[in-house]
């Protein structure tokens, strides 16, 4: 399945691949917040961790429907389904490609935006840790949502509605880790809970997504 991953990555980096889409959105969200809530650093640093997590989540959400839509339209999914490759691997590769092109860049950009929102200094390491652990789960859950809505015309809005409640645990635990990290409190429990959720999701959901794709390809 390296072939699919390699192809998706080259496609993402080629023109119009939408690589910068999530990143740009994340930047815009982070920059707009001070205009909305006012420039006082005291307030900003209090909500910075949460805002950065919310921005990363929405940026992920934004680029989900591209995961299968393009391959659905040009028949690639049909051909992959008849190829000697398990659909579960296809879903896992797609989720990984989405994470590499969206989740990872967001995680790397988050500290830079943290400066804009005057995130407390001790918060940076936990912000990155929580995003590193959380964004893979966001990608895998998102792939499940994308598979559900692949056959639906203009399914983007429905995809967000379906995926939003599924993101709640990851968001709560992730933002909690970042927030406690920023306030210098112990982060062990939310971190443990979050990694539990992420690992379970990454292990199970690709199989469910493959089942969904098979239903859609019928």
């Amino acid at each position: 399945m390296r072939a699919l991953l390699r192809r998706d990555l080259t496609l993402a980096f080629r023109s119009g691949g939408g690589f910068g889409l999530g990143l740009a959105f994340f930047l815009i969200v982070a920059i707009l917040v001070p205009f909305a809530v006012g420039p006082e650093n005291a307030l900003l640093s209090k909500i910075a961790a949460g805002i950065l997590w919310l921005g990363a989540l929405l940026a992920c959400l934004l680029s989900l429907d591209r995961i299968f839509a393009l391959d659905w339209e040009d028949g690639t999914l049909d051909l992959l389904a008849t190829a000697p490759v398990p659909l579960e691997m296809v879903c896992a590769a797609k989720a990984l490609a989405h994470w590499l092109t969206t989740g990872l860049p967001l995680t790397l950009a988050a500290p830079v935006l943290g400066i804009l929102l005057s995130l407390p200094p001790e918060g940076y390491v936990w912000l990155i840790a929580s995003l590193l652990l959380g964004t893979p789960a966001l990608s895998v859950i998102g792939t499940f949502g994308a598979a559900l809505t692949v056959g639906i015309k203009r399914g983007g809005l429905l995809l967000s509605l379906l995926v939003l409640p599924l993101y709640v645990p990851t968001l709560i635990f992730g933002a909690e880790v970042a927030r406690r990290g920023a306030e210098g409190l112990t982060v062990t429990t939310p971190l443990a809970l979050m990694s539990g959720v992420s690992l379970a999701v990454i292990a199970v959901l690709p199989f469910v997504s493959a089942l969904v794709l098979r239903v859609n390809l019928r």
Binding site: A3, R7, R14, S15, T76, L79, T82, A83, R218
Partner: protein
């Protein structure tokens, strides 16, 4: 026997469409499926290719032997011709794409991005993809759409060499490909939609 279909019935949109479909395609043979549009050629081919479970009956062929190709040919316009072919070759576990490039005289276009190809060239690339899968049984749905006469002849030659090499082909098409092969009009298998054949909506009829 490369491909044998016994007493296959398929449904579409919850209603029975074809029933009792049976035919055989020997190695080195081709079978042309005829039938008016909407008579179920696509549904039948998708069931044979394994994308769709038939409501009854069996498809017998070697494991992983079928290469399916429909109208949309799974090409990425941002990738070049050789990248597209290399991807599909890798997916099917081969790595040499040069015979496919020559077979469809795409050698000269190999570094051109797919979006810069003409419709005919794109179809040739789609069919070249078939060669690259290395699968013995070709299941093709209207392969010569948007191909002009000269390339139809080329397509026929490629199919002939595929058959000569021991492969077989099941092709749904309207036009005469110039390949000597039996033809089968599937409207013979058209079933009365009220037939009780375990189609999805049967419980409501």
């Amino acid at each position: 026997m490369a491909l044998a279909v016994e007493n296959l019935s398929v449904a579409r949109g919850g209603l029975p469409l074809l029933a009792g479909v049976h035919f055989r395609v020997a190695a080195g043979q081709a079978l042309i499926l005829r039938g008016p549009n909407g008579s179920g050629k696509t549904t039948l081919l998708r069931s044979i290719a394994g994308l769709q479970k038939p409501t009854s009956g069996r498809v017998e062929c070697a494991e992983d032997a079928i290469a399916y190709a429909a109208h949309s040919d799974g090409l990425k316009s941002n990738l070049t011709v050789s990248e597209n072919l290399a991807f599909w070759a890798d997916v099917f576990g081969n790595d040499d794409i040069s015979p496919a490039l020559e077979g469809f005289d795409l050698k000269s276009l190999s570094d051109r991005p797919a979006h810069a190809l003409s419709a005919g060239q794109k179809r040739r690339l789609g069919l070249a993809r078939l060669l690259v899968t290395g699968r013995p049984i070709w299941v093709l749905d209207e392969p010569t759409v948007s191909l002009d006469q000269t390339f139809v002849a080329m397509f026929a030659d490629v199919v002939k060499s595929h058959l000569a090499g021991g492969g077989s082909a099941l092709i749904a098409t309207h036009i005469d490909l110039g390949i000597e092969a039996e033809t089968l009009d599937i409207s013979v298998f058209k079933t009365d939609p009220t037939a009780d054949l375990g189609a999805f909506d049967e419980a409501f009829l």
